[in-house]
């Protein structure tokens, strides 16, 4: 028999939970309501695949920005994933305990650096280097990929390391007992066994990369055109919102919310995929 006080506490917690969830629902609903009219007007195909973004003339095609987001994110993965996996293996296998206690907080610190500092560092070092040695204006997909690749390292490393450590000890022991070297064990046994965790980590890293705004506004060049090479400037979905939200009104503003909807959907798909993969094992 629940006493009155018990029922009251339960109600209070329920109230807290409901108000929280309704606030979170509010933002979702708000974004969808604000964004849907323009998608309805322009048509989802024209919006997502439209090549021309010129709000002052009524063109709301976000395809150049989608290409921008995707190319920079894939670039970030190419730069970041190999390094991240190496670092995870380092933490799980090669690092002596003392070094581990330094390296792990170091990775956390990497995650805590403000994105504007990353962007600034990129403008100071990465962009001029690209301009000088590779050509082009320097503000480019490549610059964005490098910066984002570094920024998503902590995300991928932390989850991958956990996956590696979660593997049963006897996997490794058995392999070593059979005479395999450490690397052989890692390559043919541990990595494949941790595969789903690694894939989930990478997907979450991609989600982080797609959502980044400030660092990339500074290094991408923000041109609203389809890139032809990694040395070309691009604009992503996020930087488009960031640059234009101060002054957008009417349909233009709706189009920015609609871009938000697209980002929402992308993140949800990424999260659902990551969850599905981790549950599968």
């Amino acid at each position: 028999m629940k006493s009155f006080k018990e029922k009251l506490t339960e109600r209070v917690f329920l109230l807290i939970a409901l108000s929280t969830l309704s606030v979170l629902a509010l933002i979702t609903v708000f974004i969808f309501i604000k964004g849907m009219p323009i998608i309805a007007k322009v048509g989802i195909i024209n919006f997502v695949f439209g090549m021309k973004w010129a709000p002052s003339q009524g063109y709301y095609g976000i395809f150049p920005m989608i290409v921008g987001s995707v190319s920079v994110t894939i670039g970030a993965a190419i730069v970041g994933v190999p390094i991240a996996i190496c670092c995870s293996i380092f933490l799980a296998e090669f690092a002596p305990a003392k070094l581990r206690n330094i390296f792990r907080p170091a990775i956390q610190l990497l995650a805590a650096i403000p994105s504007v500092v990353y962007g600034f560092w990129g403008v100071l070092f990465v962009v001029p280097a690209i301009r000088k040695y590779l050509g082009g204006p320097g503000l480019s997909i490549l610059a964005g990929s490098i910066i984002l690749g570094i920024m998503i390292l902590p995300t991928i490393i932390s989850i991958t390391e956990v996956s590696l450590l979660a593997l049963p000890r006897h996997y490794k022991d058995g392999a070593l007992a059979l005479g395999l070297t450490q690397w052989q064990t890692i390559r043919s046994l541990l990595l494949p066994a941790a595969k789903s965790g690694i894939v989930a980590a990478v997907i979450l890293g991609l989600g982080r990369a797609i959502g980044e705004t400030m660092a990339v506004i500074m290094v991408l060049g923000n041109a609203v055109a389809l890139p032809h090479s990694v040395l070309d400037p691009v604009r992503t979905l996020t930087t488009n919102i960031g640059i234009e939200m101060g002054y957008a009104s009417g349909e233009h503003q709706q189009a920015l919310f609609a871009t938000g909807i697209v980002l929402f959907v992308i993140i949800m798909i990424l999260n659902a995929t990551a969850q599905y993969i981790t549950r599968k094992r």
């Binding site: 506490t9 939970a17 190496c86 670092c87 170091a106 705004t213």
Partner: protein, 278 residues
Amino acid sequence: MKMNANTSQKIAKFTIWAAALFVIAILFSIIAYILVKGIPMLSWEFLTDIPRDMGRSGGISSSIVGTLVVTAVAVIVATPFGIGTAVYLTEYTREGRITRIIRFSAESLAGIPSIVYGLFGFIFFVIYLNMGWSILSGGLTMAIMILPTIIRTSEEAIRTVPQLYREVGFSLGLTKLQTITRTVLPSALPGIVNGVILSIGRCVAETAAVILTAGSALRMPESLFSPTRTMAVHFYILAREGISMDNAYGTAALLIILILLLNVGFNMLVNRFIAKGR
């Protein structure tokens, strides 16, 4: 030619160590560069004087205050609601479809780009609710932004508390509330605090969500309705506009130091707490 197992081991070891050192080098170069250029700027005047001449001279006291207050608003608003929701989800409901949907939603919302929160905050708080560019607009926007993270980390922390703790509580005759507050929550505290500290770090470093909600005014804010320029925003504007690179570095250095303190402070807190109790 098939590679000798020992050779591949050597190459792999070399590559992996190289990768780790490379990451440390990058971390070091970013932080060292900012600190070396910025710490010389951190005089008493810099910390206590307000920006003058658009930030070309003077200090950053208004930004420091602005950053602290906006973060405080966000954390104070979000933490009770976040922890309370987590408690409800784990203690009062059964594991089922609804909790899984809620958990998935919290995960997804935690991944939404901060610029989208900024867009929402700008249109909803600044314009629609007519709060204008203010600490309140910025703080509430960030509160919504960190809520999913706090819910998620708190829920995880609470869920890992062994059922035994709760059973002991009941067997001692404690009410559910007492069990929660005296056994479950304290045990989950490191994880919860971890989530809160992470969120504080995120608030301090955030730019996209604040620049159009808390505004970019340079004066010392007087009330929760005053606009303010957080340190991250101030750094962004100074660096972008090339107004004063020295002051930009000083601001960034202070930011980094603050973040270092947060991270280090948390680690020490957790270690002391765990060492004390176990």
